[in-house]
Symmetry: D3
Subunit: 106 residues, 6 copies
């Protein structure tokens, strides 16, 4: 299942045209999300936090959607992540993330 | 207790000389770390992740130390955070964070 | 009046659903823009500079619009800000900001 | 006088070994700090804001020192800049900048 | 020819309204791309790498297009650049860049 | 030989304590630096460019040293990389990189 997380349109092309890169990304993904002690859901929230803090629209939207669809992560849980983004990264990425979150929920 | 988390040397000066800023930061901190659904420890790991992904030596060290001292967060838990940093932010911030983590543990 | 500056669509949802976050952001905003010595207009130009330097399309556009509408800040004043962005942050954020500025002026 | 602003140790080497780069940086500096409408001091505060928001220790310290030495910019004026940094870029760059500012003042 | 590289729509306005800035950018561009030892194509790939690593959609697309049109840089060469972006800057900017590259090729 | 490039102190600990992460980083490194068309030296200059543009002292120093030691990359070649950094990322990272480069050469 984890493979599907990053298997977006972009990665489909990578798999076909550059299989060596694809294999490295799969391996990297497995190593990233197979923590020793933290569960996968917590790690997913962490990935969401990093992309939101970096103000990256596209990555943050993808993370929010896969969080809600694959892990039944709720809006309130995502907002609890964004609270920390507000503190550590300021108001602009927080407002942007809240706007993207609200558009997804509709 | 939460107040102490950010009450470093820098903030001591802020409290004394700019109490209005200090109050806003305290309020911001409370709102950030008083999530509705996620526990404080998870939010702490998220803050650690964001500062590590941003390659910010000083902030990341402070987050690691307060994580270990106040929350008994283990090295393996921090490494599980850094696995996600490797995936989302690349090798340089990951290596830097691992080096800082190892120096703290000594 | 200052409240309206950040009272965009995203913040309307925050006010309704997460009033504690909203209050902290209002307080933070007040503390940020109530400097001891610099006037509000200069601080506004500083906020514009930071978002432009960070290449954040959405935040930079909002800052430019509120700067021109609320403070009668002129295009030449904004360009003087962007001159510093060119020096400190390079050509890509400068060109992006000039493009956004030109689209607003039309 | 403006030339001296960026004429640090690094630039001395550039001037000697790579005069073409040096000339371009001088020209860039002149164009950046010779605004049409904003005065040089305001532009200096803007440069300080951008480097502080980017959490760049070295550049931020240099900006603070040249601001205070060349323009008689006060600590309170710099703190008014950092208030905006807190709002737009979060607590870690704010705390770092306050710490650097306090160390300079001693 | 080099002048045309950055002569986009945004720069056309700069040339007309702020000729002093335009001249500085032209000079900066010449100095940047007139290396002593590296050829122009290699420097172009480096500019592409930096904008892709910074996750800047607009700048990265412009760099990819001018790379392919002016220098006959191939898709495989750009992918070789993006391999390094994956290592140094993580999966999100890599996937974004691959998506933009695939859309250009169509 | 490539393995040694990233085999710093930090990675020695990773290899011993977290072999799964180490293996993924080795694989990632191999895929990054085994381009189809660009040679390894060009890719190395690209990695150097990205870390310099990101103003990351530690990573940029490591890249410069391994560039000079392993690939006989000259100072002038690195300066040609930094010319592009000046254009795309502004004066502060350029000056910082020139300073680090000069300190290495001594």
């Amino acid at each position: 299942m984890k493979e599907e997380v990053f298997y977006g349109k972009g990665m489909a092309h990578v798999k076909k045209d550059y299989p060596d890169i694809y294999d490295a990304v799969v391996k990297l993904n497995e190593v990233a999300y197979t923590g020793k002690v933290l569960d996968y859901k917590t790690q997913k929230l962490i990935a969401l936090a990093i992309t939101a803090a970096a103000s990256d629209d596209r990555a943050m939207k993808k993370q929010m959607m896969s969080a809600m669809e694959e892990f039944d992560i709720t809006k309130d849980e995502i907002v609890d992540v964004l609270r920390v983004v507000l503190l550590t990264s300021g108001n602009p990425p927080f407002v942007k993330a809240m706007k993207i979150l609200n558009e997804i929920k509709k």
